[in-house]
Symmetry: C2
Subunit: 252 residues, 2 copies
DNA sequence: ATTTGTCAGCTTGTCTGACAAATCCTGCAA
DNA sequence: TTGCAGGATTTGTCAGACAAGCTGACAAAT
């Protein structure tokens, strides 16, 4: 019977493969900050003090602090010092933290990430159906037409597909939602480029995807949030199915 | 009439306040990688070459590469060199990238982030209603009872509230979704700690929240995804309203 | 008494040179 | 062809130095 503990520590968990001294020092400092030893706005010990405290060179200290800077934990000001960032909760979300070790996502992981993308796209489609402006509809129709055109040429339509999804994101009028959706889309296009052969898109699968796009476009045009959400979710689910099917084909 | 361009560059946009040479160099290298100049697995120029190419010291080069490492763009192996990460799409998602400059989120930003959280929680609740096991239901009921108990004592029930949401995340059986929900929850608890006074929770607002929790628990127990999603979304919306109300009260 | 100018000390940013550790590559011997 | 030794290459770490910017104290002027 597992007790319902909060898995919040996973988010900022240190990468186990910490390379070298600087990563270890960065981990110790981050742990101190999370433990509340240094509150938001507090000044960290100077580089000199850290050098003496941990018996490492200044290069190591600087690299560790640089890591904390890019992680959003601390900010530095030349001549003043290093300070804990005022907004500790706004650290980065590392979706890859759990599986940074293995080469690629396994099938179960991939299904989970697809599911996450489906949730996001569905929510975004619902909002788009409620908020789309005339300009949004024009952009959506333009992207859709571009895909129609790509369907009849040799182009696999990947760029047009991205434009369509971006137009949906614009219509939802929520930059954070759009940002996260773009992040996931980039993730998938990168994975796709590694595992799919370009020719796999030229068959009937793109026609099926276009039908799903049409359903989504119609629902957003009608202003039907439920139908838009369902269409977007269905589109992602189908894409996941096509992904798996293509993945099982021989590589040649 | 804005053309429907892809806002994917926003994700990894360089922070405008780039401090110093190393940040500039890191930006240039990241741009090269994004532009496809170096593909996944390719080896970057050696530190020595970069020193000559950009007329900076090796410390600057190393700090720039360290930044790219923590950003997930490159990996280094001692004696071998620096290589573009094989999974470029798995870089970090920086929810704070757009407003890293200002002190806190303004009201519009906050509403957008609440909306994002509502989408995530709703999708998670739908999945929880479909997949909850007997153990999940037991954990949910335990967390709910804990909140009931906290309601009658002086405890503001924040810990129990977190446990309940964590139990919902567990019941959804999707680690990525749970991870992102936990990230957002942490973000909000951090913001709440800065702006709310603890006493603000002891009034009737917690009772209202508990009623929303009951609706969510019932829907998940019944296995009704639609109702669970609606309940979760409503809960977040109401929480946003309570947040705004508390925010407008005088600080004393 | 308050404001302003100056300066000394401190802290981070950058540069230089060196050595250690790990990897890669070449050539030689079996 | 295979195996291994050894040099060359590359990143990791160290040490010292100067430049750039900030802070606080003190003196001078209003």
């Amino acid at each position: 019977m597992p007790s319902p503990t909060i898995p919040v520590d996973l988010i900022l968990a240190e990468l186990p493969r910490s390379t070298g001294l600087s990563a270890m020092l960065a981990g110790r400092l981050a742990a101190s900050i999370r433990a509340g030893e240094f509150g938001p706005g507090d000044r960290l010990p100077t580089e000199k003090q850290l050098v003496e405290r941990f018996s490492v060179s200044r290069a190591v200290v600087r690299e560790a602090i640089a890591r904390l800077k890019t992680d959003g934990f601390v900010e530095t000001r030349q001549g003043a010092g290093a300070f804990v960032a005022p907004r500790p909760g706004l650290a980065n979300f590392r979706i890859a933290a759990l599986n940074n070790e293995m080469g690629l996502l396994d099938a179960a992981d991939l299904a989970h990430v697809f599911e996450l993308r489906g949730v996001i796209e569905a929510g975004m489609a619902e909002l788009a159906a409620q908020r789309r402006s005339a300009a949004d509809l024009a952009a959506l129709n333009a992207a859709f037409a571009q895909m129609e055109q790509a369907l009849q040429s040799d182009d696999n339509g990947a760029a047009a597909d991205d434009s369509f999804h971006a137009a949906v994101a614009m219509a939802a009028h929520n930059p954070y939602l759009a940002q996260f959706a773009a992040f996931l889309a980039q993730h998938f296009s990168a994975t796709r480029a590694l595992t799919w052969q370009p020719a796999a898109r030229s068959s009937g699968s793109t026609a099926a995807a276009q039908a799903e796009h049409r359903a989504l476009l119609d629902a957003i045009t009608r202003g039907d949030p439920g139908a838009a959400g369902a269409a977007a979710r269905n589109h992602i689910t189908e894409a996941a199915g096509r992904y798996r099917a293509a993945d099982k084909q021989p590589k040649g």
